[in-house]
Amino acid sequence: MSISKEEVEKVASLARLELSPAEVELMAEQMGTVLGYVAKLDEIDATNIKPTTHVLDIDNSFREDVMHPSLTQAEALANGPDQNGEAFVVPKII
C-alpha cells in the first residue's frame, strides 16, 4: 500500500501541519505501512458481517434533558492561550 507525497501534503494542510520535504517523504512511507496493515482486512470475506461503527454492542445510551450548573467564566477560560476576562481571544478570522 503506497501513499503519494501529494496525498500526504493535502492531509497535512487539512490538519494545519507544516512538514519539511524530508518529513513528507518519511510520512508517505510510514502512512503507507499503516494503511497496508489495515488493508489486510480486505483479505477477509466480510459479506455476511454487519458494518460496525462502534466497538461496544450497545445502543441508545441517552441522558435526560436536565440542566446542571456550568463551569464559572474564570474556570472556562483558564486553559485558553489568550483571554480578556470574558472571552477567548484569537487572531481575527473572517
Binding site: L14, N60, Q73, A87, F88, V90, P91
Partner: protein, 477 residues
C-alpha cells in the same frame, strides 16, 4: 433569454431543550460570555459526550410532521474543520444516515399550491459565537452556544421563486413552533436559513452554477436577498459571463450580496463515525408514541378553520401562521361562538394594536382571550355598539380593566330607547331643513350626515341600526 430560478434552502432550527445536545449546560440565550460551558462543550480531551434524548424526540416529531421516513439505525459523525468557534476541531453531526429523509411540505404561493421536497433532516451541535474587533486584528470567542442542539432541514432544489422560498420558510417556521421544539426567534438566531440559488435557461435540464447565500435573519431579508441574487446572476449570464460558485453574505443595510472575504477553500470535511457515541436505534413503537403526541399541525388547523368555522382562506391562513395567534383565537372562541366575527376582530382591531405598540406580541397581549370574547358578546347583545367597542378595546389595552368595568365607568352603554332616539332624530331634521330638502330631492348619501349628527349629540351611544331605521321612517313621511 428567459431564465428559471432554482432555489434550495438549508434551515437550522435550535431546539428548545433545557440542556445542550451532549452535555448538561443550559441552552439559555443572552448570558455573559463563556458562563454556560463545561469540559464537554469546551472540547477538553478525555470527555465523553452523551446524547440528550429530547433531541431525538424532537427530530422524530419534525420528521413525522414533514412526511419524512424516520431512519431506524442512526449514527453520529465527525465533520472535521478548523475554526475558532469550534473548540474540538470537529462538529458532531450526522452524515450518511440522517434521522429523517424523503419528506415534503405543501406551500401556497401566489395562489398556487406546490409541494417542496425535504431531502433530509439531521441532528447536530451548534458552534460558538465570534465577535470581531473593529480596530485590532482580534476576534473574541464565546462558547455559550457551542453544543446547542440543532436540526438541519435541507430542502430539495424545488423552490422556483423568492416568494416560494419565503412561503416554505414560513411553513417550516410554523411547523417547528406548533411542535414547540424551537422558539422560532430569527433575531436571536434560533431559526436561521441559508439558500442555494442558481439560474438556468428555461427548458434546460442541467442546473446552473449556484451561489450560497448567508446572513438573512428575517423572512423579508431572505426574499430580498434572493431577489437581488437573481438580478445579479441574470445580468452576468446575459453579459455572457460566468457565475462563480461562492458563498455570499447578504448586507441588509446596503441591500446587496457580497462575497465572503478570505480564500475560499474547497471543503473536505473527512466525515467519519464518531466513536464516542453509540448508535441510536428508533423502533416503530417509539415512532408511534411520538406520532400520538403530535399536536394539531398548521395545515390541519387551517383546514378546520375554513371547513368548520367558515373562515375565509386568507383569514384562516393568517390566524394559523403562528401558533400563539392561533392559540389566542381558539382560547377566545371557547367563550364566544362566532368564529368569523371573532377572527375578523382579531385580524383588524387586535392586529392594528399589536403593530402600533412597540415590543408587544400576541403572547404578552394585555387583553386576555376571554375578555375579548366578553367584549364581542356585548356587541352582539346590543349593550354597546361596534364603534364604541373599539374605544372600549383600546381602553382595555391601556388600562388592563375588563370591558364591563370600562363600559360602566365611562357610561358607554348603548342607547336603544326608541322614544329617546326618535326625539333626537326629529330635532336634527328640524334643525337641518336644507339637508332634508336635498335628501328628499334624491341625495340619499345625506343619510350619513344625519346619522353622524345623531352620534355627535348622543356621544356615539345611540344604537346605529335604530338610528338608521328612524331616520328612514321620518324622512319618508
Amino acid at each position: 433569454m428567459e431564465f428559471e430560478t432554482v432555489i434550495g434552502l438549508e434551515i437550522h432550527a435550535q431546539m428548545k431543550t433545557n440542556s445542550k445536545i451532549f452535555c448538561s449546560c443550559t441552552t439559555a440565550f443572552g448570558n455573559p460570555p463563556n458562563t454556560n460551558t463545561c469540559p464537554i462543550c469546551l472540547g477538553m480531551p478525555g470527555v465523553l459526550p452523551v446524547l440528550n434524548k429530547e433531541v431525538v424526540e424532537s427530530a422524530i416529531a419534525l420528521g413525522l410532521a414533514t412526511n419524512c421516513q424516520i431512519t431506524q439505525w442512526n449514527q453520529f459523525a465527525r465533520k472535521n474543520y478548523f475554526y475558532p468557534d469550534l473548540p474540538k476541531g470537529y462538529q458532531i453531526s450526522q452524515f450518511d444516515l440522517p434521522i429523517c429523509e424523503h419528506g415534503h411540505v405543501n406551500i401556497t404561493s401566489g395562489g398556487n399550491e406546490r409541494r417542496i421536497g425535504i431531502t433530509r433532516i439531521h441532528m447536530e451541535e451548534d458552534a460558538g459565537k465570534l465577535v470581531h474587533d473593529d480596530r485590532e486584528p482580534k476576534s473574541y470567542v464565546d462558547l455559550n452556544r457551542a453544543g446547542t442542539p440543532l436540526l438541519e432541514i435541507v430542502s430539495e432544489p424545488d423552490i422556483r421563486s423568492p416568494e416560494e422560498a419565503a412561503a416554505y420558510l414560513r411553513k417550516l417556521h410554523a411547523v417547528v413552533t406548533y411542535l414547540d421544539i424551537c422558539d422560532g426567534n430569527m433575531q436571536e438566531g434560533s431559526f436561521r436559513c441559508d439558500a442555494n440559488i442558481s439560474l438556468r435557461p428555461v427548458g434546460q435540464k442541467e442546473l446552473g452554477t449556484r451561489t450560497e447565500l448567508k446572513n438573512m435573519n428575517s423572512f423579508r431579508n431572505v426574499q430580498k436577498a434572493l431577489e437581488f441574487e437573481i438580478r445579479r446572476q441574470r445580468d452576468l449570464l446575459l453579459d455572457g459571463e460566468a457565475v462563480i460558485q461562492q458563498t455570499l453574505l447578504w448586507d441588509p443595510d446596503r441591500q446587496v450580496t457580497s462575497a465572503m472575504r478570505g480564500k475560499e477553500e474547497a471543503h473536505d470535511y473527512r466525515y467519519f463515525p464518531d466513536p464516542d457515541l453509540v448508535p441510536v436505534v428508533i423502533d416503530d413503537a417509539w415512532i408511534a408514541r411520538v406520532r400520538q403526541n403530535l399536536p394539531e399541525l398548521p395545515d390541519a388547523k387551517l383546514a378546520r378553520f375554513i371547513n368548520e368555522l367558515g373562515l375565509g382562506e386568507e383569514e384562516a391562513s393568517i390566524l394559523t401562521s403562528e401558533r400563539p395567534l392561533a392559540d389566542y383565537f381558539e382560547a377566545a372562541l371557547a367563550h364566544y361562538p362566532n368564529g368569523k366575527k371573532l377572527g375578523n376582530w382579531i385580524l383588524t382591531e387586535l392586529m392594528r394594536e399589536l403593530k402600533g405598540a412597540e415590543g408587544m406580541d400576541i403572547a404578552t397581549f394585555p387583553v386576555q382571550p376571554v375578555e375579548l370574547a366578553r367584549l364581542m358578546g356585548m356587541i352582539d347583545k346590543g349593550t354597546i355598539s361596534g364603534k364604541i367597542a373599539k374605544t372600549v378595546f383600546e381602553e382595555m389595552i391601556r388600562s388592563g380593566k375588563d370591558a364591563d368595568t370600562i363600559v360602566k365607568e365611562k357610561n358607554l352603554v348603548q342607547n336603544s330607547d326608541a322614544g329617546e332616539i326618535l326625539q333626537l332624530v326629529q330635532d336634527i331634521l328640524v334643525n337641518n331643513p336644507e339637508q332634508v330638502a336635498d335628501f328628499k330631492g334624491g341625495k340619499t348619501k345625506l343619510m350619513g350626515f344625519f346619522v353622524g349628527q345623531l352620534m355627535k349629540v348622543s356621544k356615539g351611544k345611540a344604537n346605529p341600526q335604530m338610528a338608521n331605521e328612524l331616520f328612514s321612517q321620518e324622512l319618508n313621511k
